[in-house]
């Protein structure tokens, strides 16, 4: 691949900045490196993406997991560039491409608010739209504005195939603007943000998995459907049988497999690759912490919690850590959209910088609990061997970092 001098210099600058960032413990390097490169060459993304098959993955929940799944599958075709560290803003995307300049394939998760900035430059072969729900309303704004922006981006990409979850009316509305879609009935357990039709504002009517609006906006017929643990498509039904737990991960797998098949991988091969995954960016794995065996889970908004609550073992103590830094959203009101009442009957510890907001929520849920700001200290103070630790974004990152250091 021929790279213009300006881009090569930009990448060299980026590597220096990333190394500096890592050396001084400021971050993992990906973000700052990308930021420097974009400053030095604003077209660096488009140059680095040229001549590759690029897949972008966006949505409120499941980006990191789906990107990991799809990258594992596409590795059967060749080397894949991936922003596995979750750095999903333009600088993180650029850093992933710059570190793998020769990979013919790229699977990149992108923050919902930055799809325009990234997609306009990279002109991806596929854009995967997972789901849209309330998340960090103070930073992201309302979810309908995100849908309208995605719809506008999609309409500017005539050669991109959009792989979309047609059980989510907001995602469907955005995807309909595409020239080509692969519809996946991946399911959705959170409906609270899509009552008003994205196209006309009237009420969406639901009947089982089907939904429609009087304006004519209706659920498209899916090519792929997630039915319990089976992924079905006309003529075949394949069991997923994942190591990763929960309905949400089965939905992520359905999206990844549908995309991979569109790109030429046989479905059986794709599912086999996804099955081999047992942890995603430190999530779902068990790790020893302060003498306990801790399972780390990420949940950062009401829809995510809805998928996480059923995964928790009903007899195992739970530590919940919540922060409200910029990447988490400053507004903690969303804790009241989570049915924490279901945690009653097991020891619960409220932790993190916003432990007190959670403690008040648990009080009103009549769930007995204790408060320990430091999540690791919270784990240490518990009886018994096994502990579930559920954290939102920066709280999770903090715990994972300290576990890596110990």
């Amino acid at each position: 691949m021929l790279t213009p001098t300006r881009t090569r210099l930009a990448i060299a600058g980026a590597r220096l900045a990333a190394a500096t960032s890592r050396r001084f413990g400021l971050g993992n390097g990906g973000m700052i490196g990308g930021r420097v490169a974009l400053k030095l060459d604003p077209r660096a993304l488009s140059r680095l993406g040229r001549d590759r098959t690029v897949v972008l993955i966006t949505g409120t929940n499941g980006k990191t997991t789906t990107a990991l799944m799809l990258s594992r599958i596409l590795q059967t075709l060749g080397p894949v560039a991936l922003n596995a560290d979750g750095a999903n803003m333009p600088d993180g995307v650029l850093a992933a491409l710059a570190t793998n300049p020769l990979a013919p394939l790229a699977v990149l998760e992108v923050d919902e608010n930055y799809v325009s900035a990234v997609a306009d430059e990279l002109r991806p072969a596929c854009l995967v739209l997972l789901n849209l729900s309330r998340d960090q309303l103070d930073r992201m704004g309302e979810v309908r504005a995100t849908e309208r922006e995605l719809r506008a981006v999609v309409s500017r990409l005539p050669s991109t195939t959009v792989v979309a979850n047609c059980d989510d009316p907001l995602v469907t509305s955005a995807a309909l603007a595409a020239a080509r879609q692969v519809w996946v009935g991946a399911g959705q357990s959170w409906h609270a943000d899509a009552l008003a039709c994205a196209r006309c504002g009237q009420a969406i009517l639901r009947d089982g998995t089907d939904w429609q609006c009087v304006c004519g906006f209706t659920r498209p017929a899916p090519l792929w459907t997630l039915d319990g643990d089976d992924l079905t498509t006309p003529g075949s039904s394949l069991p997923l049988d994942l190591q990763l737990p929960g309905r949400a991960n089965a939905a992520n797998a359905a999206m990844a497999v549908a995309t991979a098949v569109h790109l030429g991988v046989p479905a059986e091969t794709a599912i086999e690759r996804v099955r081999s995954i047992s942890a995603v960016a430190g999530r779902y794995r068990r790790a020893p912490v302060a003498g306990h065996s801790v399972r780390l889970l990420l949940a950062k908004n009401p829809a995510g919690w809805r998928e996480t609550l059923p995964l928790l073992d009903s007899h195992t103590p739970v530590v919940i850590a919540v922060n409200s830094r910029e990447a988490d959203g400053r507004d903690m009101s969303w804790l009241w959209d989570v049915p924490f009442e279901r945690l009653a009957g097991r020891p619960v510890v409220a932790a993190g910088e916003r432990a007190m907001d959670l403690a008040v929520r648990l009080t009103y849920a009549e769930v007995p609990h204790t408060v320990a700001r430091d999540p690791i200290a919270a784990v240490a103070a518990l009886d018994g061997e096994s502990v579930e630790l559920v954290a939102n974004y920066t709280a999770f990152r903090g715990v994972a970092q300290r576990m890596a250091d110990e």
Binding site: R134, L137, D138, G141, E142, V143, R144, A192, D193, L195, A196, C197, G201, Q202, A203, P302, R330, D331, M332, S333, W334, L335, W336, D337, M356, D357, A359, V360, R361, T363, Y364, A365, E366, V371
Partner: protein, 238 residues
């Protein structure tokens, strides 16, 4: 109060639930139960009739389209208006405040008729007000400062038929240094949080209106600690 249990109505939580204000119903219900006063929560959704016989109605925040749907539904099914006319307590937050007023404008430039229970008119401002808010409630509406989180574009102007809930010490509120609107037993604010979780005195003020007498204190150490933390985050000293 007409029956033995306090009947709390959660108004269209499916469209007015974006900012988790349904938590206000949980707070009110628990604060009654803990004082051994029976209480029930009735949720009614978009498309369903609006019961007129409840004691207290709660309206939360929502996005433009949802707020417009809610306003149209409540103009057509007038249970809330008849309940307010016979003295039921009505509490609105954000979009709830706006649609209880005379009218509100959405970003597409359209003005929508409100329910007219408050003399408050809302139009879109220049930029969203987002962040922690501290409000000093006006006389008779609470002694302790109110803490909450706001996230709205609307700027609200009160007419003579309503007075503000209080004066903004930090944040934006209505946009003119005041927050909220009060007419009789209809009270509204821009504060989320949910606001009644962070401000138990305001919750008990509303419940006192319903029961016709002030409620005994209900100290909760964690709520006090949260208030202190949030008031400090809002830049309020002392």
């Amino acid at each position: 109060m007409s029956e033995s249990a306090v009947r709390i109505g959660l108004v269209l939580p499916d469209v007015l639930g974006t900012y988790s204000d349904s938590g206000n119903a949980t707070v009110l219900c628990r604060r009654l139960h803990w004082r051994e006063i029976p209480a029930t929560i009735t949720e009614f959704h978009y498309g369903e009739p609006v019961p007129a016989g409840l004691d207290l109605y709660l309206l939360g925040g929502g996005e433009d389209e949802s707020q417009t749907l809610a306003a149209a539904h409540l103009r057509e099914h007038r249970g809330l208006q008849s309940a307010a006319a016979r003295g039921a307590v009505v509490f609105g937050v954000c979009a709830g405040l706006q649609l209880l007023g005379t009218g509100f404008g959405t970003t597409d430039g359209v003005r929508h008729e409100g329910l007219g229970l408050l003399d408050a008119e809302t139009s879109p401002g220049d930029r969203r007000a987002v962040g922690e808010v501290v409000v000093q409630a006006d006389q008779g509406l609470g002694a302790e400062p109110l803490t909450g989180f706001e996230n709205h574009l609307g700027v609200t102007t009160l007419g003579r038929g309503s007075r503000p809930l209080g004066r903004v010490l930090a944040g934006t509120g209505n946009g003119d240094g005041t927050d909220g609107a009060v007419t009789g037993r209809v009270l509204a604010t821009y504060l989320h949080g949910p606001v009644l979780a962070r401000n138990p005195a305001l919750a008990d003020l509303l419940l006192g209106w319903v029961l016709g007498a002030p409620l005994p204190a209900l100290p909760l150490a964690e709520v006090s600690a949260l208030r202190e933390e949030r008031l400090r985050a809002g830049g309020h000293r002392g």
